[in-house]
Symmetry: C2
Subunit: 344 residues, 2 copies
C-alpha cells in the first residue's frame, strides 16, 4: 500500500510500504477513508534532521474496519470507525480516569512498528479500546467533521474543559489555527458567555466568529494584552485557551487572565521554561491542559456532530489525494491552508 513518510524538514514523501497485517489478537486493520495534516506535524516538517529511512507520519484518521484480531469484540469488517490520535486499551486505570494519553498499554501512531494515519490503511493496536464506531456510511457528508473527533475538536474541547469553561465564563482563545478555532467552538458549546479570539488572519478569525467568537483581537504582544484588558474592564478573562505552543503565547495568556483565572494550553510546548514566577502566583493563576485524551471525549461530542449542532469539519479548507500530501504540508506550512483533508 501507499503511506506518507517524513524524511526530514520539508521532505514528506508518499511511498510504497508493506501492507499492514494483524499482528496481535488485539489489532484491527482499518482502510483509511479520510486523514488529515495536523499543526503538530508541522514541527518535524520544520526541524527534523534528514533521515534516509524516514518515519511514518499522520495521527488522525477515520476509516472502514477490514479485519479484527481474535480478542477484539464489538467491531467487525465494514464498520466505519474513527481513531483518536493516541491508541489506548481504554481499560487501564488512567483510561478509566479519562486520561487515555497516559494509557499503560497505549502509544502514538507513526512510532517504530506502528503505522501512521496518512496512508491507505492502518494496523490499529488495542483496537477495541481505541476505535469508536460511527453510525454513518462511507460516503457520509459528515466525514470531515467526524474526522475532527480524532484530534482537533477534542483538543479544543480538552482545552476548554480543563480550563473550566462554562456558562458565565469569559474566555480568551490565543491562536487562530485549527486548534484555536476548535477551542472557540468548544467554548461556545460549553456555554461561554464571551469569547475573545486573538488572531490576525482574517479568513480564520471570520470562521472563529461563526464558531462563536464575540470579539476578535488582531493585535499581538503587549498591544494585544492591552486590547483584551480594555474589552474586559481591565480585568482579563476567567479562562485563557492557549492554542499555539510558543513561549510568547504563554506569556500573553498569563497577562490576559483574570486574577484567580486559569490558563489552559493544548499547543505542544516549544519551550522548556515558562513564566510561572511571582506575577501569576500573586494573582492565583493556574496553568492546566496538556495533550488531549481525545478518546475520552468522542462519545460526548459525537451526537452534536451527527446532529449538525457543531460543524468542526469547517476547519478543513483544502482537500488532497494521498499523492498530493506533500503539497498539503507545504500549503499548511506556508499558511495557504488552515487544515488539509486527505482522501486516500
Amino acid at each position: 500500500m501507499k503511506a506518507t513518510l517524513i524524511h526530514g524538514a520539508g521532505d514528506v514523501r508518499v511511498e510504497e510500504v508493506p501492507d499492514p497485517t494483524l499482528r496481535e489478537p488485539t489489532d484491527a486493520l482499518v482502510r483509511v477513508l479520510r486523514s488529515c495534516v495536523c499543526g503538530s506535524d508541522l514541527w518535524p516538517y520544520a526541524v527534523m534532521p534528514a533521515s534516509e529511512e524516514g518515519n511514518r507520519i499522520g495521527h488522525e484518521f477515520l476509516g472502514v474496519v477490514e479485519d479484527v484480531g481474535s480478542d477484539v469484540s464489538g467491531l467487525k469488517a465494514g464498520d466505519v470507525v474513527v481513531a483518536p490520535f493516541v491508541w489506548a486499551d481504554n481499560t487501564c486505570d488512567f483510561c478509566v480516569e479519562g486520561l487515555q494519553t497516559s494509557c499503560r498499554h497505549g502509544g502514538f501512531w507513526g512510532t517504530p512498528g506502528v503505522d501512521g494515519g496518512q496512508g491507505e490503511a492502518v494496523r490499529v493496536p488495542q483496537a477495541q479500546g481505541t476505535l469508536v464506531k460511527l453510525p454513518v456510511g462511507e460516503d457520509s457528508a459528515l466525514l470531515p467533521s467526524l474526522l475532527t473527533l480524532s484530534d482537533v475538536f477534542p483538543t479544543g474541547h480538552h482545552c476548554a474543559v480543563t480550563a473550566g469553561v462554562g456558562p458565565r465564563t469569559t474566555v480568551t482563545v490565543i491562536g487562530d489555527g485549527a486548534v484555536g478555532l476548535s477551542a472557540v467552538l468548544a467554548a461556545k458549546r460549553l456555554g461561554a458567555e464571551r469569547i475573545l479570539l486573538m488572531g490576525r488572519h482574517e479568513d480564520r478569525t471570520d470562521l472563529g466568529r461563526e464558531f462563536g467568537a464575540t470579539d476578535v483581537i488582531p493585535e499581538r504582544g503587549e498591544e494585544g494584552v492591552e486590547r483584551v484588558r480594555e474589552l474586559t474592564g481591565g480585568d482579563g478573562t476567567h479562562t485563557v485557551l492557549e492554542c499555539v505552543g510558543l513561549e510568547p503565547a504563554l506569556e500573553t495568556a498569563f497577562a490576559v487572565a483574570r486574577d484567580g483565572g486559569v490558563v489552559s494550553r493544548v499547543g505542544v510546548p516549544q519551550y522548556a521554561l515558562g513564566p510561572v514566577g511571582r506575577d501569576i502566583f500573586l494573582r492565583n493563576i493556574s496553568l492546566t491542559g496538556g495533550i488531549a485524551p481525545a478518546r475520552a471525549y468522542i462519545e460526548e461530542l459525537l451526537p452534536d456532530v451527527l446532529d449538525g449542532k457543531v460543524e468542526p469539519g469547517r476547519v478543513f479548507d483544502r482537500t488532497v489525494s494521498l499523492e498530493e500530501v506533500p503539497d498539503g504540508y507545504r500549503a499548511m506550512a506556508d499558511r495557504k491552508a488552515l487544515k488539509v483533508l486527505i482522501r486516500p
Copy 2:
C-alpha cells in the same frame, strides 16, 4: 508604641513608632495579643538592601479591638479578633469569589502608611471585611492555633484545596517548614488517603507524622523523586503540595506528580521561570495555588480549631517578647526554630 522594623538583610529592630489612630471611617485599632514571624519574612531578612528608614514588618496577628471607625459594624472594643495576612473589604467581586488577596480595596501589611503585625498595636484598614471575631478570651490557651488562621494554616489549606485534595487522593508535601506541616494537617483534615512528606529535619517531620503524614522522605532531588515513585508503584501522587518556593522544589514537584495530577504551590516563588515544558504537558500535569486568600477560609477552619480537632499552633516551637523579635528572626533564619510566636 513599639513595633518591628526591618532595615536590611539581617537587621531587624524594635523601635518606638507613633501610636496608630483611626484615619478612615473603615479603620479599627487592634492591640496585638499574639503575632509571629513568617517564613516569607525571611526573604527580606536574607536579601533586603540596607535602609536607614526601614519598613514595618509582620503580617500575622491576633488581638483585641480598641476602637472602630464610624463605618465599621459588627465589631466593638474588647472583641478578640484575628486578621488575615492581606486586608480586604470582603465585599468586592474578587472577595465574593473567595479571592481576597486580589481585593479591589485591599492591600498588604507593612506597606507605606500601613502598620505591620509585629508591634504593640495595628491600625486595620477595611476592618469590617478584614477582621474575624473569635469567641475566646484574651488568655485562651487556643491563641497560638487561632493565630495560625492569619496565614500559615489557611496557606496550607489553600494549597490542599486548590490541588483538589480529598478522600482517595494521594498527596506529596514538599517542605517541612511551618507551611509544609500545615499543608500536611490540611490534607489530612480533607481526608487524604496517603500523605508523603518530603523533608529532612527529623524534629519537623516527626510533627508532620503527628499531623497526618503517612510516609517521610528525607532524600532530596532525584533520590527523593525515586523514593516517592517507589512508594507509589512508580506512578507518583495525584497531588503535590509545593511549600518551599525554590525552583528545584518545583522541579521535584512535577517529577513526583502522577500523570493527570496537580502541583499546587504556596511558597512565594523565588524564580521567574519554571519547568513547564513538554514533560508536564504530555503528562497533563496542572500547576495551581498561589498566595492564599486566608480570609476566605477562616470561618471554615475556625470550628475545628476551637474544638481542638486540629492544633495548627503546634508549629510554634519558640515564644519571644516584642523586644526579643530580632532573636526570633535569627533563630528561624538559622533553622533553630520552626516558627516563632511573639507576645508583645
